[in-house]
């Protein structure tokens, strides 16, 4: 198992080594020591490998990830897994703002809390937060699923499109055009799949409330013409 110690190696050399791996590489498990909150660790990966980051990561960790599994054994800074396409990112501590922002695919699991704007403009990513999420989460979320075992802050799902939100705890307030929706069987099945993927077999789908778009902002309403 290659071990990269960032106390001596540079972040650029780490990322360059990971980018150079062929798709059929046998070096499938990497360990990054002494991350010390450095930014842009393990970004832009595109190989079926697993990268363990032994501590806290800075901004944009595992951004643009494809295929790889990135595990942060601590907290992650702003924009963890932003624009992820596929693969999995697992943060064992808390995540800062904009976790999973604009991401198209893959699974982001956060064991602790995520702060403001979790899943902002999400475009297909699945996010499971075992703690709570901050305000303005899933803002303009287009598709994908955000599952929160704890509570959600203000303005959840503001201006949301078709992202699906499941919250087990309380929601401080809903954003514009975000409403509570009925939980149908297809949603229970989807939620069950994500809870299992996040290693939560004992959490029941029925404990959650579903939220999504009321779809009233999709088209211009002529009654608003006078506002312009």
């Amino acid at each position: 198992m290659p071990v990269i110690d960032l106390a001596t190696a540079s972040r650029r050399s780490l990322n360059a080594e990971l980018h150079a791996l062929p798709a059929n590489t046998n070096e499938t498990l990497w360990r990054v020591e002494n991350p010390q909150g450095q930014h842009a660790l393990a970004v832009g990966l595109d190989a079926p490998i697993k990268v363990e980051i032994a501590g806290h990561a800075g901004y944009y960790c595992a951004g643009m990830n494809k295929q790889a599994t990135v595990i942060v054994e601590g907290n992650a800074g702003v924009g963890v897994a932003e624009n992820m396409m596929s693969g999995m990112v697992h943060v064992k501590g808390d995540a800062s703002q904009s976790a999973g922002a604009t991401a198209h695919g893959g699974l982001l699991v956060i064991d602790g809390d995520a702060s403001a704007r979790c899943g902002i403009s999400m475009k297909g990513i699945d996010i499971v937060v075992k703690g709570s999420i901050g305000p303005m989460s899933a803002f303009m979320g287009q598709s994908g699923t955000l599952v929160v075992l704890g509570d959600a802050g203000d303005a959840l799902g503001d201006s949301i499109y078709e992202a699906r939100l499941f919250v087990r705890g309380t929601v401080k307030s809903l954003g514009a055009d975000c409403v509570q929706k009925e939980m149908r069987e297809e949603h229970r099945v989807e939620l069950r799949r994500l809870l299992d993927a996040a290693g939560l077999p004992d959490v029941q789908a029925d404990e959650f409330t579903r939220y999504g778009s009321a779809r009233t902002l999709y088209n211009f309403h002529v009654d608003n013409a006078a506002a312009y």
């Binding site: 909150g37 800075g58 907290n75 800074g77 702003v78 501590g93 702060s115 403001a116 901050g134 305000p135």
Partner: protein, 291 residues
Amino acid sequence: MCGIVGLFLKDKALEPQLGTLLAGMLNVMTDRGPDSAGFAVYGSGDAEHVKLTVRGRDLEGVAAAIGGEVDSVVRDSHLVLSFPKDKEDHVREWLATHRPDLVVIGSGHRIELYKEVGLPADVARRFDLEGMSGTHGIGHTRMATESAVTTDGAHPFSTGADQCLVHNGSLSNHRSLRRWLEPQGITFATDNDSEVAAGYLSWKLREGATLAEALEASLEDLDGFFTFVVGTESGFAVVRDPISCKPAVMAETDQYVAFGSEYRALVGLPGIENARVFEPEPARVYAWERN
């Protein structure tokens, strides 16, 4: 972008290391603010004496020229004068009369305040921050947005005795707030938006608010982006604007409370591996007081 740091010690044993720890934190924040740097340290002092931090040139001999029981320490472009509190008017008058070129940038029983244009590591070295001890300190690395890259525009800002503030962000209603505060007797030395925030808190404290109450009120009255770290003689506080536009990370152990714009700034602190590391919530005041 700017970088801010703060360190509030609970454990007296760490006090001799305050400057060294703060210098390390400040240096890491160079990436966020290479234009200028500054810091305030709450060091030795007592209620019977006043300390003035004065900035300018030709500082040797100033204390002797003032005469009386005035002690002084010169650190590069800054001079700290210490004297019995009943001499404060005399010292200020002397400076205004004989040395109008000098600027008083901080005053109080324990605060010392230093700031200069340049890379944070160079600024810390010029003032020998590593050699300073104290109970708490805050620092700032500046990437200028709202006013020029000058020493005047560097943080921290101090607008009241033993008070100081560092700011990451920019305020949009600082002009109107300034026009409102000036008739209340709050004076400003620069055109900087952050100084207005400091003045606003000084006004609130003067009106009897606690540090936490003053910061609660600022959430209503200040418009713009801000993460503030504020120091008083016995207190240390943090607040972020309601949409948490600017980053913040905190760490708390039995020995200290630490603030950094990024976690990277905290990695050199003792016991950080086992600290409670958390992100302060938007629009929530976090305040600590010395026992």
